[in-house]
Amino acid sequence: MGKDNKIDWHRTWQNNKYMLRLIYRACPGILIMTLFSNVLGAINSFLIGNYLYKYALNALQEGQELQRILLNVGLMFGFSVLYMIFCAFRNRYMELHRPLVSAYIQKLLQKKAAEVELACFERPDFYDTYVKAVGETADRAFTVLSNFSNMVYLVVENVALGALIVSIHPSFLFLAALPLVYTLLIAKRKNRLGYEYRTRNRAAGRKKDYVRRIFYLKDYSKEMRLTDLWRVMFRQMHESIVDLKALVKKYGFTMMWFAYFLDVLSEIVVYIGAILLAAFKTLVQKSMLLGDCFVIINSISTISRCINQSGTVFMHLDANSLYIENLRTFLDYEVQIAEDETAPAAPKMQTLQLRNVSFSYEGQQTAALQDVNLTIHAGEKIAIVGHNGAGKSTLIKLLLRLYDPSEGDILLNGENIKQYRLSSYRDLYGTVFQDYHLFATSIAENVMLRGPLTKEDEAMVEYALEQSGISEKVHRFSHGIETTVTKEFDPDGAVFSGGEAQKISIARVFAGGQEIVILDEPTSALDPIAEQEMYRNMFAACEGKTVIFISHRLSSATVADRIYLFENGKIKEQGTHTELLAQNGVYTDMWHKQADTYTEDDKSEAVKV
């Protein structure tokens, strides 16, 4: 951001050009139409608003033929009428083509957002600056476009008006340019200050907005009624208001003077000054023609407004540039875990091996995983157990290459997984996450995670829903598997409870047909019978497949070929259920805590541990 008050105009222009190029690629017509219509508009405004009077008055003074004068005036009006007709066409064109620009740009960003590694979403600074900001990019594109069109318009009108004024007396042009000089001089300071003001405002306003959300979101409604937390929320709102008021005090006056001096310059110095100068020249010096004096009086405010607006256009160029800079950084961001189309497709899994794998989340001191070594063979059923926060879910994220290890390697059939094409590698896995989410699209597409679907796909969806035990519920909707999830876009949309939504996300694995299945606490929201059934179906469907599952309910771990017990990011114990019980370690302890409550007679022993 720097302290110098000079704008890097080169960079500013580059950035604006970048956005204009995006618009051009999305729909060349929009840019061309904008250019053309603004040139015409400026000419029209000059002819009708300024030139017409000078022409008519001077022609009259020179004693030209009345008929000829009227003919020329008529021609100018004719042009104006034609321009208006053109405007109606232009409006229609623009309205119909604007969505193309939005779609082009937003899709570009969406693609990028889906490509960048997960860490980008979890790094608050990166997320706040880049990812979140791009949500409004399409609107920004139109801001850039409208600034560009103003620029074209003003260039043409300024040239025309400048010529008109110079033909009368050049000194007026200098006078009229004063506000522009002022604007350019303070532009950087004002923009930076404005930027700082807005940024700090946003930060100070965050609490206020949070409190508002708390009060209207349904999620919090129960707690708001059952506790007195509203008092805490009121205090936070008040703190936010106090901070914001302090900001108004700190920046408001400076902003006020910036704006006021500009106003004094353009509305008083230039306007009244030019009029007085013209009147002086005409009445006292008698060096100016009456007609020219009228033109000055009539046009001076237009001229100074035009020049003044040029300053604003430059300011906006700079303001847009700051924003586009972020956009470019995001679009140019080199994805760390990237899809390489030339890389070989991942082969069928034989073994999956973690070799000395350690991993720390950015900005966290303790490692989430430390020196983990394990090997999984095709067809094995692997259970991963351990306390909350022991690193189980992190392990899953590494396996799926949502992150790469900080140290060590993950090998597929002995080869580093980084060698394979990312999408093909991820396609090996069918995963149910702990924090599963459904999309507001059809149930079928939610299960297949793609679309549009063929007849075979639909049969697969039916099968998967049946397996995960939600088929009956789905068929109660009038559109069956075609029902849209959530009522967001369809009043007849399907609303699922937590357990039901989990079943839908489990169905994804049944439908996916992948060789490796990862289940991260897949049954937390299910009742015991449903859980039982789900596991039975899952293991039946996964016969011959590799299954890696995380579960807190150790009963489901007993069937595993091998159990890994994680503690503080390390593998603490491993082996089959029987082996682990024989070790009499942490696993045994855990097992008894759960199991003993089910066995009728040894409550006392459970308490002892």
Binding site: A88, Q110, M255, I268, F433
Partner: protein, 610 residues
């Protein structure tokens, strides 16, 4: 959906009287919370109006003065006077815009939002289930203060334009009444076209809104961290982008559908209310000036100036009618929310300690579900009784009605039929706030708030005297150990919502904090809905121990899917399909060999390996 919106938003529904009434209703809020704002706004309106008029008179004076060759000093003095007025007015205006208004807006925000939040808190839980009310409610609360500020700004400009155009009309009629007439006619026509266009635009927006919502939904999916993992699986990201294109196509199709009409109207406006009157009036004045030697240049130019200013002013006034109508529609939603009378109420505030809770022939359907029939009710013919000191477990399948019953016990809803009795008294006679002070509840969808840990636990502001209670509650929820490691102990801020050093909790930890809430107050009755669902086995075990320890002399109701935890209950209610299917102690139910026994064995079997 579109039908529903139409019912609320019919653009021609509001009579001028209603619009004025609604605007006044909102202005009153300004009077209440930022009265100075009104005077400053009015000051601006008249100050600017005067400036427009001075401008025209000044130009007329100048032209005439120069044509007649008056003394330059006179021009100088008058010009400087005008400059002085403008300089003073603009200083006031810039102060208003940059300093006064932001501050007044904040005062308005705090005053109005406090009032609204109190109201929001008093709404019935069922209001959140009524999509129509909820939409309005969100809108009312999200926009209210900005809307009042906007209304104030619009009113200011409106008053100033009315003032200016009144003076302009007088001016113009005195100079050239033909021009005035032509002008008024074209303005009137312009207004008609504008109303017509607005109506079409409105119809179009009804069709476009769902499409725009869909587009922004897809955008959101890509930028929100929530879906980030799933987007990296399969081809769903690609599919969503395709849908984005499809929706864009639909949007263009919809725009196309109205484009013809809008084009025709826009052409009409361009030609008959802009180009032709403009050319006509200017042409007429030029011809008149050329042929009529009595018309001074000053009058000519002043007429021209006044004409266009008036045209522009009245045209703008037209747009304000639409804006005010829109405001009025908003205000009605706002009033609907503010005037809402909570249904869950009761007069008795002096409530004795808990002795018993009786559910009598209870039937319940969520309000705003289509099917209100008795056979499809969420709870049907439910009867149960809970006495002081008992441990009660609710078990059953997903969707059997357990959580719903708890919502009724907490009076988040009232029964459709039947009653709930607290110490033999119908809970509907009790003041809900006072009633809830006797019962602590943790729901499955608990949240922590961006406040300190202690505040989250107490569910209120804290003083030093609360420290002990907070620690005790945290110990009961087996969270004390973690709290000790936090940088500022129990006064550490939770969530990174607006504090970078805020503590982010895992799912299990969040659940423990939620549980601690029920131990922070001396509740007689504690209700827990799946209190250990997010916990690992050891934590679950410790938690259960500690809950039972801390709740020794309290009455406890808990819902659990893990039947091992229900064994210690004095009585278990097995829910099925909105009814109590079985009821009794663990041993009794096992002896009955019914649904409960089946469920229990299913789970226990898996642990019998050792």
């Amino acid at each position: 959906m579109s039908k529903r919106v139409e019912a609320v938003f019919n653009p021609q529904k509001h009579s001028p009287r209603r619009v004025i009434g609604n605007l006044w209703y909102m202005v009153k809020y300004t009077f209440r919370y930022a009265p100075g704002y009104i005077w400053v706004t009015l000051g601006e309106a008249f100050g600017r109006g005067l400036w427009h008029i001075f401008g025209i008179l000044y130009t007329k004076y100048l032209f005439d003065a120069i044509e007649q060759g008056v003394d330059f000093t006179e021009i100088l003095v008058i010009s400087l006077l005008l400059a002085g007025y403008n300089g003073g007015f603009e200083l006031f205006n810039k102060w208003r815009l940059n300093v006064y208004r932001p501050r007044a807006a904040l005062e308005l925000h705090e005053g109005m939002q406090s009032e609204l939040y109190r109201k929001a808190r008093s709404l019935d839980q069922s209001c959140y289930d009524d999509p129509e009310f909820y939409d309005d409610f969100i809108w009312a609360i999200r926009e209210s203060d900005a809307r009042v500020a906007l209304i104030m700004e619009n009113l200011s400009i409106f008053i100033n334009r009315i003032f200016a155009s009144a003076v302009l009309i007088v001016l113009l009629v005195s100079m050239d009444w033909i021009v005035a007439l032509v002008l008024l006619f074209s303005v009137a026509m312009g207004l008609v076209v504008k109303f017509r266009t607005n109506k079409i635009r409105y119809e179009q927006s009804l069709e476009l809104n769902p499409l725009n919502r869909k587009l922004s939904y897809i955008d959101r999916i890509f930028y929100m961290p929530d879906h980030a993992k799933e987007l990296r699986q399969g081809k769903i990201a690609q599919r969503l982008r395709e849908q984005y294109s499809e929706t864009t196509d639909e949007k263009i199709k919809c725009l196309n559908k109205y484009a013809g009409k809008i084009f025709a109207l826009s052409m009409f406006t361009m030609l008959f209310t802009t180009a032709v009157p403009y050319a006509g009036v200017t042409g007429y004045l030029i011809v008149r000036y050329l042929v009529d030697p009595t018309l001074s240049l000053g009058s000519f130019s002043a007429s021209l100036n006044a004409t266009f200013k008036l045209y522009w002013t009245i045209d703008e006034i037209g747009t304000y009618f639409t804006k005010f109508n829109e405001h009025s529609l908003y205000v009605e939603k706002f009033r609907r929310f503010v005037d809402y009378e909570p249904q869950i109420k009761g007069k008795i505030t002096n409530i004795p300690p808990f002795e018993s809770l009786t559910v009598q022939n209870l039937r319940f359907s969520y309000p705003f579900t289509k099917d209100q029939s008795a056979e499809n009710a969420v709870l049907k013919q439910m009867n149960l009784e809970i006495k002081k000191g008992e441990r009660i477990a609710f078990v059953g399948y997903n969707g059997a009605g357990k959580t719903t019953l708890i919502k009724l016990l907490m009076r988040l809803y009232d029964p459709t039929d039947g009653a709930i009795l607290y110490n033999g008294q119908d809970v509907r006679e009790l003041d809900p706030e006072a009633y809830r002070r006797h019962i602590g509840a943790v729901f499955q969808d608990y949240h922590v708030f961006a406040a300190t840990l202690a505040e989250n636990v107490m569910g209120d502001e804290v003083t030093e005297q609360d420290d002990e209670a907070v620690w005790a509650a945290l110990r009961a929820a087996s969270f004390a150990e973690k709290a000790e490691t936090m940088p500022q102990g129990i006064h550490s801020p939770l969530t990174r919502e607006f504090d970078r050093n805020g503590v982010g909790l895992s799912g299990g930890e969040t659940q423990k904090v939620a549980i601690a809430r029920t131990f922070a107050h001396p509740y007689d009755l504690i209700i827990m809905d799946e209190p250990s669902s997010a916990l690992d086995p050891i934590s679950e075990y410790l938690l259960n121990q500690s809950i039972m320890e801390s709740a020794k002399d309290k009455t406890v109701i808990f819902i659990s899917h893990r039947l091992s935890t229900t064994r210690m209950a004095d009585r278990i209610y097995m829910f099925e399909n909105g009814r109590v299917a079985e009821c009794g102690s663990h041993d009794e139910l096992m002896a009955q060999n019914g649904k409960y026994a089946e469920m229990y064995r299913t789970q226990a079997k898996k642990y019998q390996v050792s």
